[in-house]
């Protein structure tokens, strides 16, 4: 026979202050745990969404980022002639030869300068990134000193409003629009005309070449073509893979740090749960005896106390998760050391994180409750009745 769930729930209610404090401690641990997972998910979502499966990205052999890379003009022309690359009806290759440089701009908050990527894009670059849309203002005119800024840049940096101008490389660059790139890394960039930027920065070659594949499955044969072309000293990656790789270090850092903290904190919460449950067992010794005398088995007592501990953890878990869900409104901006530039991303709550977090809370409740529950179940009827 089972002890009714309402009896278990009421026991928690009777000791409101204790229940609240224990569940509160657990909620904080759960909050930290969920926040870490959400931050990591947000970073990955931003960077992975940046790349498209259809696009490939060429950078100089050995380079890790677009900023480090350099692709000479003759190399770019060779890439254009590769057969695996998609072409328009007129036979023009869908290849965007781009230049990426870093410019340090002051943040609105605190005025500290951090690096913002400036990307020179030819008109075809927009065809390859259909997610980029103008929010306010207009696109830059090709061949002009006009630039447009990503939505995250517009939010976080000073002096980047439409009509203002940035001075770098001995020129003034007028801002004519703000673009939204659907929560991707492009939101943290400034875009301008590729040829103008190349000239201003006196660059001989491009930073990277982005191309659309004729068919998504052409990637393997593209790699074979590259291997058979000794003049080309470039590495190629699927665009999605490239951006995923860019998130690796920061993602690992967040995960290691966050998980270490969660484990340490959870020890505190487990101890809290154990204290509460030991006290519950101690104060209800008489009750346990009575229940046993009424015919409830040891296993029923064990289950009842375990359920009580799990319920306590669930309350804490739901509260922590509820608080963490508000984090979704926050955007974090930090320097990605792999690309050495600022990237903005938000906390993302996924179904998987909800499940993982609640499981984490229940495991804490289980570990904290198991010893007290065994203590309760092992009590002898006579002793416990006498203790009351």
């Amino acid at each position: 026979m089972q002890i009714p769930l309402s009896y278990i729930a009421r026991n928690l209610w009777v000791r409101r202050l204790t229940t609240m404090l224990t569940a509160g401690g657990m909620a904080l641990v759960v909050f930290v745990f969920a926040a870490v997972l959400m931050l990591d998910a947000g970073l990955k979502a931003t960077l992975v969404a940046t790349g498209s499966d259809n696009n490939v990205l060429f950078i100089r052999k050995g380079a890790e980022t677009e900023v480090q890379s350099g692709v000479a003009r003759d190399q770019a022309a060779l890439i254009e002639s590769l057969p695996q690359i998609a072409r328009t009806a007129n036979g023009e290759a869908l290849v965007s030869k781009e230049v990426v440089v870093l410019n340090s701009l002051p943040k609105i908050e605190g005025g500290k300068r951090t690096n913002v990527p400036i990307r020179g894009v030819p008109p075809v670059g927009l065809t390859l990134r259909p997610q980029v849309k103008i929010m306010t203002g207009r696109f830059f005119r090709p061949g002009s000193n006009e630039i447009i800024v990503g939505s995250s840049v517009a939010r976080q940096f000073a002096g980047v409003e439409i009509g203002q101008a940035l001075s770098f490389a001995q020129r003034r660059w007028t801002i004519v629009g703000v673009f939204d790139a659907g929560r991707t890394a492009f939101d943290s960039e400034i875009w301008g005309d590729a040829e103008q930027l190349l000239q201003a920065f006196r660059r001989g070659g491009f930073s990277s070449v982005i191309a659309q594949l004729a068919t998504p499955s052409a990637f393997d044969s593209l790699i074979d073509s590259l291997a058979g072309e000794p003049r080309l000293t470039v590495d190629v990656k699927r665009e999605k893979q490239f951006y995923e790789d860019q998130s690796r270090q920061l993602s690992n850092f967040i995960t290691y740090l966050g998980m270490t903290l969660s484990v340490i904190f959870s020890l505190g919460a487990i101890i809290g749960a154990a204290i509460t449950m030991y006290a519950a067992v101690a104060t209800r010794t008489g009750e346990i005896g009575t229940l046993r005398a009424l015919g409830f088995r040891r296993s029923a007592i064990l289950t009842a106390f375990l359920l009580e501990s799990l319920l306590l953890a669930l309350v804490g878990g739901v509260a922590g998760l509820f608080a963490a869900s508000f984090l979704q409104a926050i955007t974090i901006s930090t320097t990605n050391f792999q690309s050495f530039s600022e990237i903005a991303f938000s906390f993302a709550l996924t179904a998987r994180i909800v499940v993982n977090t609640l499981v984490f809370a229940l495991v804490m409740g289980l570990i904290g409750g198991v010893l007290p529950a065994f203590k309760a179940a092992r009590m002898k009827i006579v002793d416990s009745l006498r203790a009351a």
Binding site: R60, K61, L102, I271
Partner: protein
């Protein structure tokens, strides 16, 4: 004396519970201490910066280099004692995980400005003789077991290709704050290669390290240097070495703020655990408190009893935590911390914070139970069944 004895006996009546509470307190306070040390270690690079050293870089961003001839023009500015080229190399040894910083510097000029790096005379001579020679910091050498004479293959990311260095010298730190977790090699080796392969990138410097003879004139000289190159193709931004290092830390400031925030959450968690213990203790002893009152002890005495017990638990936890933090930090540094941090020392102020936190937890945890115990009516209390 009698009072203390009573408090002590009370605290250890529920032995398991008190032990668990103290254990929770210790874990949380040690975690707090470690997190604070992590934050402090991040700033270690800025701490070793000297007030007489300036860094001149391209004003657009660090990714842009400066023409090599700037060195002589900076050198001719009044108050400047020395100028050296320093160039971030950004190569990868073995794999990305075993990261360490490499700089191409003009060795004699550069180390003349960094007396905190100590060389053995014979190793210094060898380093000067070998153009492919590299100088490795003591911490870095210990971390990966590098020895003088070892060959060091490094894959370039900014300067593509496979590079071969020979370790000619291992330099030591003059004092504790000095970081020796990096590698320096001859700028000429890099430059000769660039002259052949990428002439456009040759004869350029990532940054110039500028030594001034008077630290109080640093700001003035910085402005003079920047004015010298204003409106040129490569405008400069000169700042003190410390400001330069801090600008790196500012990039990841968000993460440091998160760690700071989290380290205070630990304190709140443990406060919840301790407050819980005190609340339960007080509730169980309501009958006793009523008895004490019936015997003539006033509410202040009962409140003090609860408070003293809570503070005692806090103090025990605090003392144990302070004793353990040092060894735990050392263990962390020896096992995994060395790949991330150059120094990992618990600062005295961190111990002070731990002590204050333990005291605060002890005081705050007792608040509600104190109030309850003091205000319990004698009749209700005696009637109360735990």
């Amino acid at each position: 004396m009698f009072f203390l004895k009573l408090v002590f006996r009370n605290a250890f009546r529920a032995r398991l519970r008190s032990a668990l509470t103290v254990l929770g307190l210790v874990i949380a306070l040690v975690a707090f201490g470690l997190l604070q040390t992590v934050v402090k270690s991040w700033y270690a690079g800025a701490e070793m910066a000297s007030g007489t050293r300036l860094i001149t870089r391209n004003s657009i961003s660090l990714v842009f280099s400066l023409p090599g001839y700037y060195r002589d023009r900076i050198r001719s500015i009044g108050g400047v004692k020395g100028v050296a080229v320093s160039n971030w190399f950004g190569g990868i040894w073995r794999d990305e995980r075993s990261f360490f910083a490499q700089f191409a510097v003009d060795v004699p000029n550069f180390f003349a400005m960094y007396p905190e790096f100590r060389f053995k005379p014979d190793e210094w001579t060898d380093l000067m003789r070998d153009r492919r020679g590299a100088a490795i910091g003591r911490q870095l050498a210990d971390l990966y077991g590098f020895k003088v004479g070892d060959r060091l293959p490094i894959r370039g990311t900014i300067y593509s290709g496979n590079w071969e260095f020979t370790i000619r010298a291992i330099f030591d730190a003059r004092d504790q704050g000095t970081i020796t977790r990096q590698m320096y090699f001859h700028y000429d080796y890099l430059n000769e290669y660039l002259k052949q392969k990428v002439p456009r990138a040759a004869d350029r410097a990532g940054v110039f390290v500028v030594e001034v003879d008077d630290a109080s004139r640093a700001a003035e000289i910085s402005r003079t240097i920047d004015a010298e190159f204003a409106n040129s193709l490569a405008e400069t931004l000169t700042e003190t070495e410390k400001a330069f290092q801090l600008s790196f830390i500012a990039m990841i400031e968000t993460i440091i703020q998160v760690i700071q925030g989290v380290s205070f959450i630990v304190i709140v968690i443990i406060l919840a655990v301790a407050a819980n213990t005190m609340a339960m203790t007080a509730r169980e002893r309501i009958g006793e408190y009523a008895m004490l009152k019936a015997l003539g002890f006033g509410p202040p005495f009962v409140a003090r009893l609860v408070l003293a017990e809570s503070v005692m638990l806090g103090a025990i936890g605090g003392l144990l935590a302070i004793a353990l933090t040092g060894p735990v930090a050392h263990g962390f540094f020896e096992s995994i911390g060395k790949t991330i941090f150059a120094v990992f020392e618990v600062a005295p102020i961190t111990y002070l914070w731990q002590a204050l936190a333990a005291l605060a937890v002890g005081l705050l945890a007792a608040l509600v139970p104190m109030f309850r115990a003091a205000n319990i009516g004698i009749v209700d209390g005696l009637r109360h069944v735990g």
